[in-house]
């Protein structure tokens, strides 16, 4: 078990480094002259040279890479060209928003998808099952941003129950929560479509296995068999899928923040693109990619922990 842990962790760290290398390469090898971008076309050659020296742009690529990594590990991501503040400050400001959106979105997704999936499996072949199948098939094809627009159309424009976007700040908790309802629902519904299907097929697979028959033969109620025997076993392959969903969650959060004008990291990325603020974009892309890799790693570990059959082999 210890050896397995070591190997996986080593792989994880390696992947992180590889990801950072790719991000650094794309963002520093290809583009033009950052000094020019910062100072503008009118800058004198001297000013440009001085800035390049200051930013360390004359150093070899590898040195710059390690400088960046070293700084990143200490929480220093450089300074934003457009906002003129340390990138880490910008991130710290906006992280809570993104985290709360992602966390509540994931939670809602799990609740909706698991109940629909298990429910469909329990009613296999009947109306409920077909309904869920159909809904999830369509749900997969619906873009998150379009669903958001439709929700806004219904709840904000027509019914005027909820705000169409923006975030009023945390000082008024009720208003703050109200502005987060539609974004969370939009994020969760789209993700639920995929997860519900996977839950359903996983549950159906499990229901075909012998131990379910044994449980029934022991006189246990249908409900007990479903929730105490089928679900825990069905969750194992689902956990893997949920792990893969984190990439979609990251994408979805970025998109949703932009649809609803929420002041989170997703909005920040796009503002930075518009401003050609490379250090910020670089830091944020690295951050998001790191989140995806880390969650995949954690899910891998979780998988081994919850299945007693794998613990022996590990």
């Amino acid at each position: 078990m210890g050896y397995f842990l070591f190997r996986r962790t080593a792989g994880f760290v390696l992947t992180l480094f590889a990801v950072s290398a790719v991000v650094f390469a794309v963002m520093n090898v290809l583009p033009g002259d950052p000094a020019l971008t910062i100072l503008g076309l009118d800058a004198t050659d001297d000013a440009l040279a001085a800035l390049r020296e200051q930013l360390g742009l004359n150093d070899p690529l590898l040195t710059r890479y390690f400088a960046w990594i070293g700084g990143a590990l200490q929480g220093d991501f450089g300074v934003s060209h457009s906002f003129r503040v340390p990138v880490s400050e910008l991130i710290a400001e906006r992280l809570p928003m993104t985290l709360s959106l992602a966390a509540t979105g994931m939670l809602l997704t799990l609740v909706v998808a698991l109940s629909l999936g298990i429910g469909a499996a329990a009613r296999h072949g009947r109306v409920g099952d077909w309904g869920v199948m159909f809904l999830s098939q369509v749900g997969i094809a619906v873009p998150a941003f379009w669903l958001s627009i439709l929700l806004v159309l219904l709840f904000a424009v027509k019914l005027r129950w909820l705000p169409p976007g923006g975030f009023p700040g945390w000082s008024d908790p009720v208003a703050a929560l109200r502005s987060l309802i539609l974004p969370t629902i939009a994020l969760a519904l789209v993700q639920s479509a995929v997860l519900a299907r996977v839950t359903r097929s996983s549950a159906l697979e499990v229901m075909r296995q012998d131990f379910v028959r044994t449980a029934r033969a022991s006189g246990l109620s249908r409900r007990r068999v479903l929730w105490r025997h089928v679900l825990p076993n069905a969750l194992i392959p689902i956990v893997t899928i949920v792990g893969m969903q984190f990439a979609a969650l990251v994408t979805g959060t970025i998109v949703i923040e932009n649809v609803f004008y929420l002041p989170g990291l997703g909005r920040l990325i796009f503002q930075s693109i518009a401003n050609r603020d490379l250090p910020t974009v670089q830091a944020l892309v690295m951050l998001f990619a790191a989140i995806v890799v880390t969650t995949n790693f954690l899910v891998d570990l979780l998988y081994v922990l919850i299945d007693p059959r794998l613990k022996v082999r590990a």
Binding site: Q137, S201, V250
Partner: protein, 272 residues
């Protein structure tokens, strides 16, 4: 006469509609999709403009058709590009095996760490947003997907008897890959390609919506939705049509892919 699965049929119908509209738009659209006519903005559906006009007086139907053409082109290029590279890598990994295979698969895992959006963001930040960047980003994330599928299928196929026979007869690994393995993994690859087509359409729409894809005045369903979002109080219908097109296209290719999978390998058909 074997009954074709419902998803295959429905998918085929939807796909033909979308591809048909896209193809038709190459030679004819009811109006020029970029032609502005401010006086006629927000027109209601009529014989002249079947779905009305948008905020700049442009014909909606023509834009939708041009958008279809755009989506199909992006998806085709991205999937073809990413798919060919991916399949080649996968075949390479399977044919050579050993540490080459491990290395390729590790690279593939790396690719999975980058959602298309992140890659597109990087490209956009560096080069500025453009449609070709979007295509590159989508192509890039297809590489590991096809590499995996190709390698897994190739591994399966290479255990078949006649492949072993070809190997014993001294055929070069390259020739074996090309002549024996490739045709046999074609089914799996085509199924995956159809599904990735659906994913690519969705990705292009999202990127264009965010401004990282098709730049105005180029027609794109995503871009149309972005513009419509600012006009929800004035013309809500403008937000509906492009979305429906996206759903139809993505659903169509998705169902088609599922149907093809069910038909080509019934053993893999999931529990229904």
């Amino acid at each position: 006469m074997t009954r074709l699965p419902a998803n295959l049929l429905i998918g085929a119908v939807l796909v033909s509609l979308v591809v048909g509209a896209a193809g038709l738009s190459l030679i004819w659209t009811p109006h020029d999709p970029t032609l502005m006519n401010i006086r006629d903005k927000f027109a209601a559906p009529s014989e002249l403009h079947w779905l009305g006009t948008d905020q700049l007086g442009r014909d909606v139907v023509s834009q939708l058709m041009a958008g279809a053409r755009n989506s199909m082109a992006v998806a085709l290029i991205a999937v073809l590009l990413g798919g060919s590279i991916g399949v080649a890598l996968g075949l390479l990994a399977s044919a050579i095996g050993g540490w080459v295979e491990d290395g390729v698969m590790r690279l593939a895992d790396l690719g999975f760490a980058f959602p298309a959006l992140l890659f597109a963001i990087m490209l956009a930040a560096v080069f500025g947003p453009s449609l070709s960047n979007a295509v590159l980003a989508i192509a890039f994330i297809n590489i590991p997907i096809f590499a995996r599928v190709a390698r897994a299928s190739a591994n399966q196929v290479s255990t078949l008897d006649y492949v072993s026979a070809a190997r014993a007869a001294g055929m070069s690994r390259f020739a074996i890959s090309r002549d024996h393995i490739l045709p046999n993994i074609a089914a799996a690859v085509i199924v995956q390609a159809t599904i990735e087509f659906a994913v690519a359409i969705l990705a292009e729409a999202a990127l264009s919506y965010l401004g990282l894809g098709a730049q105005p005045p180029a027609a794109s369903w995503g871009r149309m939705l972005a513009e419509a979002q600012t006009l929800l109080y004035l013309a809500p219908q403008l937000a509906i049509y492009p979305g429906l097109c996206i759903v139809a296209a993505v659903l169509g290719f998705g169902l088609l892919g599922d149907g093809l999978r069910d038909v080509s390998d019934p053993r893999l058909a999931r529990a229904r």
